[in-house]
Amino acid sequence: MRTRSWSSKPNGWDALVVLAVIALALGSALAVWGGGGESGEALTAVVIIDGKEADRFSPADLLEGPRTYSNGSYTLEAAYGLRGAESAPLDHEPPSGEAGVRVAWADCPTQDCVRTGLITRSGQSIVCLPGRIIIRLEGGAPDGGIVDAVVG
């Protein structure tokens, strides 16, 4: 078969491509992950639907009950979550950890938003592409990032 000149032996130029991708990954990580530092404000979840802010709340507000958001034919349910609460507390101590938001349920086919799990830090987001819904955390973590909470 006649193909254009090709090589299956990795060389230094391939290493340059790999280094360029790594540099881009690190650069973008610094730009998008490094900018969400403590702002002094309480951690706030912002819900954006179709590019417009639809709701804004503290993760603790979800203790009163999950919130449901719809766009088009897709619906998702945002619920409260506590990172670290998975380990069973001893002597009936209240579970402690980082408070955050997770998508407990969604009717979209991909379920990526549900699989994203719990987000607890400023700058993190849960994206529902089919429904064009974003839940994004803003502001610094309340109480230095670790809060105690009693669930249930």
């Binding site: 006649r2 193909t3 090589s7 299956s8 491509v17 590019g51 974003i134």
Partner: protein, 171 residues
């Protein structure tokens, strides 16, 4: 550009193969391990890399557009069309540039294409959602593209090696 019947038929077969690989990919949902929208192995890129080397940029581009259009129609989702078009066009531009450079092996070309594909898809997500929130996923997607690009590069290299031992004349 005028295509011979043989070239046109080969383009159609490769388009069908790319669509089949896209479907096959759903059996290995990488998103279960890395829960990020759009994360996948990019098996259809094996066809793009092969077409780029064996048939040239024009025919590879035609196969890519046909795959994106048919894939979007099958999915019944115009959003999916925008994602695959932007991702595919970015990947193709990067790979054409790297092939024309003539220095990289098929691995470098494939990794560069995979990284550009993810950048294109993030751009599509930013345009679709009207928010820069999807940029949050870019570092992870770029890291995944290193492994996914190397894998598709390996598959393409094996394909070239196997075909070099045949008398098959494609172009």
């Amino acid at each position: 550009m005028r295509l011979t019947t043989k070239q046109l038929t080969l383009c159609a077969v490769l388009t069908a193969l790319a669509l089949a690989l896209s479907y096959l990919e759903n059996l290995f949902p990488l998103a279960l391990a890395i829960p990020i929208p759009g994360v996948k192995l990019g098996l259809a890129n094996i066809v793009t890399v092969f077409a780029l080397y064996a048939l040239g940029a024009f025919q590879a581009l035609m196969i890519l557009f046909a795959r994106c259009l048919l894939g979007g129609m099958f999915a019944g989702n115009m959003n999916a069309l925008l994602f695959s078009l932007l991702g595919g066009a970015a990947a193709m531009l990067a790979m054409i540039g790297l092939v024309r450079l003539g220095r990289c092996s098929v691995y470098g070309v494939s990794i560069g294409g995979a990284a550009a594909h993810n950048c294109g898809q993030i751009a599509a997500a930013v345009l679709t959602l009207g928010s820069t929130a999807p940029l949050y996923y870019l570092p992870v997607l770029l890291a995944v593209s290193l492994a996914a690009g190397a894998l598709t590069g390996l598959a393409a290299a094996c394909l070239f090696q196997a075909l070099d031992h045949t008398n098959l004349r494609i172009s």
